[in-house]
């Protein structure tokens, strides 16, 4: 159990305690078989009973990258956008698993709907010059100043100021605090409600949840590294399983080998590794065998059709849950990155 490891040997895992990433991160971990146990909502530490030696630290989403950089946490789940905004490039933190399929959003540039003449970043660059010439300054409200600044410069928007805006960014133009915003949006609904529109080429970055580690901190803590390996493997197995279904059918045949041969007449019916064939003991003494394959979702119909064609009965489909590979690619990459960063 997670309490058996001494505190110093545990993996300190930071996960968001607020905002749009909180619920999706917990749901994702649960789906990976790593439900987080939090004694109560006011406590900021928790555990993952399924993985030994993990101390979960609930942190404000925008603080996680900083905690990772400072090695206060060994590892964490964080939005890709947030990580890119706050990380130290070439520092100790590294993304191990990316595009985890939760917390999807985009950081976009949006202008008032009333600006019917502004559709693209080129318009915005042009407008910034126009503002400048008339003694005004284009004010851009954003919470991701570093990403926004780079994006604006790369599109030739050189003259602007970034006023400090706390609270809801999308209200800033209507309140008169800013002219345009660069903000995170999942569906665009909030933008529309605030009479803002996205620029056609205004996507600064697309983001999903990712798993990041502090290489140096992990290199110094073998027990934490082991816990990180387990998390990586479980996440990978879950992600891999999303592509697969377990297809089971009863097929009549003289022997296991004969049934297998019939199944393998079609290549894709082999599934991930080949069929598992085992005898079914029936009351009437018929020669039935249970056949199970791990099928890729895309091949499902073809496999079911084939099973029927070779006399398959009672075909059942179930979710695979987890599919572990022989070796974790992400973990191998983590070790390689650690080697590069910290030496052996």
């Amino acid at each position: 159990m997670s309490t058996s490891a001494p505190p110093s040997a545990r993996l300190r895992l930071a996960i968001p305690s607020d905002g749009a990433m909180y619920e999706p991160t917990l749901a994702f971990l649960a789906a990976c078989g790593m439900a987080v146990s939090r004694p109560n909502a006011r406590r900021y530490v928790g555990s993952i009973p399924a993985v030994e030696g993990v101390e979960v630290m609930f942190q404000r989403a925008r603080d996680i990258t900083g905690h990772m950089e400072a090695a206060n946490a060994h590892a964490g789940f964080v939005g890709y956008d947030d990580f890119q905004e706050r990380r130290v490039e070439g520092g100790d933190t590294e993304i191990v698993l990316q595009d985890l399929g939760f917390g999807r959003c985009e950081l976009v540039a949006a202008v008032p709907e009333a600006w019917v003449d502004v559709e693209s970043m080129a318009d915005l660059a042009d407008l910034a010059v126009e503002f400048r010439e008339s003694g005004r300054e284009l004010r851009i409200a954003t919470k991701a100043q570093r990403l926004a600044r780079r994006f604006l410069f790369s599109h030739g928007v050189n003259y602007f100021s970034m006023p400090q805006v706390s609270g809801a960014l999308e209200a800033a133009p209507a309140m008169g605090h800013a002219d345009i915003i660069i903000d995170v949006t999942a569906t665009g609904a909030t933008l529309r409600e605030n009479r803002l529109k996205r620029l056609v080429d205004g996507v600064v970055i697309r983001s999903e949840g990712c798993f990041v580690v502090n290489l140096r901190a992990l290199a110094a803590a073998p027990a934490a590294l082991e816990a990180a390996r387990e998390i990586v493997e479980r996440v990978e197995a879950h992600r891999r399983a999303e592509g697969y279904l377990r297809v089971t059918a009863n097929i009549e045949g003289a022997s296991e080998a004969a049934v297998a041969a019939k199944v393998l007449e079609r290549g894709e019916a082999a599934g991930l590794r080949g069929p598992t064939v085992s005898p079914v003991f029936t009351a009437d003494g018929g020669s039935w065998h249970a056949v199970t394959v791990l099928a890729h979702r895309a091949n499902l119909t073809a496999i079911v059709d084939h099973f029927r064609a070779i006399g398959g009965a009672s075909v059942t489909i179930s979710e695979a849950g987890y599919v572990f590979g022989q070796e974790s690619g992400a973990y191998r990459r983590l070790l390689a990155a650690m080697e590069r960063r910290c030496g052996s």
Partner: protein, 467 residues
């Protein structure tokens, strides 16, 4: 971080490069000046363009002003001229050397951030004779250092712009083509450029296109009324700092000046052709002329190129070949005429050794009432240094035969007096401050390559022996 430390050997090498180039430029009338490392951020934002701006080290100083470590020298030189601190009779020839700072993203975060640039600016002269002088400076300066195998890639923003204008492109589309020249020469780049042009509405067959066609048939007042009627409600609400009139005026301008897609298509294929035409100047000039003919454009558009190469023909470029490449990108937004890069295959990753160009218009843009034509170039000394032989600069090392003066602690006064007397005679002398005895002094002298040890006694007597 990415800045490199220079030990004494590397420093001597760098210093020798700097000194030789300085003398070379001195002899051509370029006066050396020094400029501040820190400038108002605004200076570089005004004209340098986005690519450089995004790589600057900018921060807020204690007074609350935004300042930046300079990413290049030209803006500072022009700023100083406009300020009045570098005034002089025109033409003004100036040279400078010093660090510039640019963030280079790299996978491991170790990208270089501080480079040493050495360059020159020629203010107050228009025309190809001045262009040729500056290009020759870059090519000859390198040859003088002993670099060989470099070549000068020459393009001309003014000529390309005039061609695009002759094709009937609006300024917006011309800026787009210029900005995407690099993309257009890449494999499959034309497709990507077309996609970008569509995203920007430069190349579009949609609603904007139909509106443009309509607006073109109306007289200006009618067009304005149409646009007002269409957007009055949308524009009335929440326009922020902008007035509804301002928004509609700009919209109308956009609609009425919308691009003819056929022209943009032609310009895109022309730009791809330009990239393919690059090569040895005479052949490249011929291919460019053929390309112009294909598009029914006047050969006379290439006249500045002919004058430039005539002017360059008067210089001995000491073996550095020229490449005419009108499809080359300049990267910096303030160039208006000739632009060039000095390339060498021997530098890791093959970044240019340096480059430059003409920036007529920058002087006025930075506040001068009257515009002054100008151009310049700069070399990256790190990259140049990579190409020089190992022993380069060794001749400038302090001459051998230095002396170590040593004494017992009780004779320090006599030792200092002896050392000072020798120094007054022009002999380089190091003073032994450790008083660890003769053996230690000899070992130290050996490590330092010192040839003579002088042991000074309490009575001022000097015992001289080879180290």
């Amino acid at each position: 971080m990415g800045a490199r430390d220079l030990n004494n050997t590397a420093w001597r090498r760098r210093s020798a490069i700097r000194e030789r180039l300085r003398t070379f430029l001195d002899r051509r009338g370029y006066d050396a000046v020094e400029l501040p490392t820190l400038e108002q951020t605004d200076l570089f934002l005004r004209k340098s363009g986005g690519e450089l701006a995004a790589r600057m080290y900018s921060f807020t100083d204690p007074s609350g002003r935004s300042v930046s470590l300079r990413p290049e020298f030209t803006s500072s030189v022009v700023r100083a001229y406009v300020d009045g601190s570098l005034r002089g009779p025109l033409p003004l020839r100036l040279q400078y050397a010093g660090p510039v700072f640019r963030y280079e993203p790299s996978a491991d975060g170790s990208g270089a951030l501080e480079y040493e640039q050495l360059g020159a600016e020629l203010l107050g002269v228009a025309g190809e004779a001045a262009d040729a002088e500056v290009i020759a400076l870059a090519a000859q300066g390198l040859a003088l250092l002993g670099v060989s195998g470099h070549r000068v890639r020459i393009s001309h923003v003014g000529v390309v712009n005039a061609i695009l204008e002759a094709m009937g492109l609006t300024e917006r589309a011309r800026v787009f083509i210029h900005g995407n020249l690099g993309l257009l020469r890449a494999e499959g780049g034309a497709e990507e450029a077309r996609r970008r042009a569509e995203a920007l509405g430069i190349l579009s067959g949609g609603r904007a296109r139909r509106l443009s066609a309509l607006a073109a048939r109306l007289d200006p007042d009618e067009a304005r009324e149409m646009v007002e009627a269409l957007f009055a409600d949308t524009v009335a609400a929440g326009a922020g700092q902008r007035t509804p009139e301002e928004i509609l005026r700009r919209y109308l301008k956009k609609v009425r000046e919308a691009e003819d897609p056929a022209r943009v298509e032609r310009a895109l294929s022309f730009a791809v052709g330009l990239a393919d035409a690059a090569g040895e100047p005479e052949a490249a000039r011929k291919r460019a002329a053929e390309l112009l003919a294909e598009h029914n454009l006047d050969d006379g558009l290439l006249a500045p190129i002919d004058r430039l190469f005539d002017a360059l023909g008067r210089y001995d470029l000491m073996g550095a070949p020229l490449v005419l490449d009108l499809g080359a990108t300049s990267g910096i937004a303030y160039y208006t005429g000739v632009v060039f890069e000095v390339e060498h295959d021997g530098v890791a990753g093959a970044p240019p050794l340096g480059g430059g160009g003409r920036y007529d218009g920058l002087v006025k843009a930075l506040g001068e009432v009257q515009d002054i034509p100008a151009l310049g170039f700069a070399l990256s000394l790190e990259r140049v240094s990579e190409l020089l032989s190992d022993g380069f600069g060794d001749a400038d090392a302090p001459s051998a035969g230095r002396v170590l003066v040593t004494a017992q602690e009780t004779a320090v006064g006599q030792a200092v007096a002896t050392a000072e007397r020798l120094r007054a005679q022009g002999i380089p002398v190091e003073l032994d401050l450790s008083h660890d005895g003769d053996a230690a002094a000899a070992a130290y002298a050996k490590r330092r390559g010192i040839e003579t040890i002088m042991r000074v006694g309490r009575d001022g007597s000097v015992d001289e022996r080879p180290a």
